[in-house]
Point group: C2
Chain length 329, copies 2
C-alpha cells in the first residue's frame, strides 16, 4: 500500500490545461500515460483509486515476464514506471466531460476542471457483487471474480462458479481442467450463454449443475470453506463444501457516466470503441474494461487492458497531430 | 544470453501431438504459451530464435511495470515465466502447415512433424534493412528500427529517419518532440503517407526534408556519428552528422510461408486476422507483428503483441472446446 501515500487528493477547485487527460489508474490508464509521456505529450492521470481491479488480485501470474506477484505489487510497479516520466497522478473522481469551444473539459468531484484536446477514459468495470455475507470478508481468500486469473491456485480442489452467462460457463469449463469438482450455481434452469458452452458443461463429468438455486452465504473463517445454497422453488437450503467461489454475475461499467457525457454504449453498458479505442465523440477514447462494442474481442486481462491503453495513447497522439493542424475539432 | 543454452534443437524427425501448437518465441508467442499452459492445454513453443524483435532492442522502457531493461533481459523473463509452467521451447523452423484429417500438421526444417488441433503462428515481421555499410555493425548503437521504442534516448540530439511511408513520417514527427533536429531522408520527393502527416512534417521547423536522396553508408566507430547521403539526381554525396538513424523502409512478414499454408494476407503481406486473431483457416491463429488486415490497429509494440498472444490463446481454447464437441473441424 506504500504508493498510496505519494498521491495527494487534488486541491479544491482549480483548472489545469493538458494535451491528453487520462482518467483511471488501472493497467489501461497507466499504460496510456506511460506512452503519452514517452511521446512528449503533456498529460496527467486522474483516478478515484490506484490500480483498478488489478490491485485487488491476491496473486497475478499472467502478466508475462512478471511471475507471481500480488496485484497490489504489480500496480505499484506500473505506478512507479509512470512516475519515472514525471507524470502527475491525482486522486479525484470524474463526474462529467463537456465540450467548450475547441477543448474538452473534464469536471471532477473536488470541483477541479481539466481542459484538454483529447481524453482517454480508462474507468474500468467493477465485477458485480453477489451481495451475500462472507463475500467481501473472504475476497482474495477463496472468493474470486476471475477464474482465468486465480484458477491455477485451485488444482485438485473443489470450487463453485456462480452465474449463468458466457463468463460463468467458460469459467466452469476452464476450472474443470484444473479443479477436482466444479459446482455451477445458477438462479434459473436455462442459461444466457452460447449453446456450445452449455452442452460442454452439461456433458463434463466434473461439473455439477446446481440450478434454480441462489447462494445465500459464503462461509469460512480465514478461508472459504463452503457456500450456502437455497433452492428457489423448494426453499431448501444446504451447504456445499468448496475451497473457492468464482462469482460471474455480470459487470458494472460506468454506463451512467458514459451516457451523461454522450458516449455511445453497448448492450452491456460499455463504451462502443473502434479498433483505435476512439468513441463516437472525436477526441474521447475509452480503453480497458470500460471499453466494449462489436469490434472488440473482450478478454479482460491486465495484458489486454494495458495494450488498449497503449493503442489509445498512440491514437490520441495522432488525433493531436490533426487537431494542431486545425483539421481536428 | 544465458537462456539460450536451455534450448536444444529438436531431434531429427519425430512426431509430436499437441492441443495447440505455438510457433514463434517473441512476446506474442510466449504470452500465448503462458495462457495456454494456465488453461491446462497441451502446448509447446517452436521457434527459429528466442525473443523475436524484442530481443534485439538495446533498451526497453515501454513494457509497463518493467522499467529500463534490455530487450534480451525482458525476453529472458518472458521465457522463464513460460518455462515455470513446464512448456517445452524447441528451436526449429516452421516450413509448412497442412491439413491431415481432423488435425493440422506442422512441418519443421529438422524434419519433425507436430500434429495439433489448433496452431498460433506468432512469426513476427522483420523490419526491412537498408543494406548499407555500418547498418548491422551499429545496430543498437545509434541504428534503430523503432522510434517510439528508442526515441527517448535522443533527447536534444540530432537524428535521421529513412523512409517515406506512414511509419517514417510518424517517426519523424514523434522524434521532433524529443530530438533537436530530424532529417527525413527519402528516395522520392513525394510520400506514400497520410497527407496530414506530410503537412505536419513539412511545417515542422525541426524537421529537414532530404528528398530524392538515399543513404549510402552509416558512419561511426562505436556509435553512429553520421550518415552518407547521395542525391539520386545530381549524384552528389554529403555527410549529415547525426547521433541516431531510424530506418523505416518497410517490413518483411513471412508472406510466402503464409501463402504456402493458404492463409489470406493483406497488401503488406501480413496475415488477415479477425478480432480474435483467427485467420481464414479454422484453427489457425496469427498474433503479433505477422498479423494484419483491416480489423487490426497496427501498433507493433511488445505490450500489444503480448496482448494479441493472450487473445489468440483464449480464442484457441474456445476453438478446442468446439472441436472436442465434434462441432469444429
Amino acid at each position: 500500500m506504500s504508493s498510496f501515500r505519494l498521491f495527494a487528493p487534488s486541491s479544491r477547485g482549480g483548472e489545469e490545461e493538458l494535451d491528453v487527460l487520462v482518467v483511471g489508474a488501472g493497467p489501461a490508464g497507466l499504460t496510456a500515460a506511460l506512452y503519452l509521456a514517452r511521446y512528449g505529450v503533456k498529460t496527467a492521470v486522474y483516478a478515484k483509486e490506484i490500480g483498478g481491479q488489478m490491485a485487488i488480485a491476491p496473486l497475478v501470474d499472467d502478466y508475462p515476464g512478471v511471475p507471481r506477484v500480488s496485484g497490489r505489487e504489480l500496480a505499484d510497479r506500473f505506478v512507479n514506471h509512470v512516475r519515472s516520466y514525471g507524470v502527475p497522478i491525482v486522486i479525484d473522481e470524474l463526474v462529467d466531460v463537456r465540450r467548450e469551444g475547441d477543448r474538452w473539459v473534464a469536471l471532477f468531484s473536488s470541483g477541479r476542471r481539466v481542459r484538454c484536446v483529447a481524453a482517454i477514459l480508462a474507468l474500468g468495470a467493477r465485477k458485480r457483487r453477489l451481495g451475500v455475507p462472507g463475500e467481501d470478508r473472504l475476497l482474495g481468500r477463496g472468493v474470486s471474480y476471475c477464474a482465468v486469473c486465480d484458477g491455477p491456485m485451485y488444482a485438485g480442489k473443489r470450487v463453485a462458479v456462480v452465474g449463468g452467462g458466457n463468463s460463468a460457463l467458460t469459467s466452469a469449463l476452464y476450472l474443470s481442467s484444473v479443479a477436482s469438482r466444479v459446482y455451477l450455481v445458477h438462479r434459473r434452469d436455462s442459461f444466457r450463454a452460447m449453446p456450445i458452452y452449455v452442452e460442454r458443461a452439461r456433458s463434463d463429468p466434473k461439473i455439477e449443475m446446481v440450478l434454480r438455486s441462489v447462494v445465500t452465504e459464503i462461509v469460512g473463517d480465514d478461508r472459504v470453506r463452503g457456500i450456502k445454497v437455497r433452492n428457489v422453488e423448494s426453499g431448501e437450503e444446504r451447504l456445499i463444501e468448496v475451497d473457492g467461489v468464482f462469482i460471474e454475475v455480470g459487470v458494472e461499467p460506468p454506463t451512467e457516466l458514459f451516457r451523461k457525457i454522450g458516449i455511445e454504449v453497448d448492450e452491456e453498458g460499455r463504451a462502443v470503441v473502434d479498433k483505435d479505442m476512439s468513441t463516437n465523440l472525436p477526441g474521447i477514447f475509452v480503453a480497458g474494461d470500460a471499453a466494449g462494442g462489436p469490434k472488440k474481442y473482450r478478454f479482460p486481462q491486465i495484458i489486454t487492458a494495458a495494450a488498449e491503453g497503449a493503442i489509445a495513447a498512440d491514437a490520441a497522439w495522432k488525433y493531436l497531430q490533426k487537431a494542431r493542424s486545425g483539421r481536428g475539432t
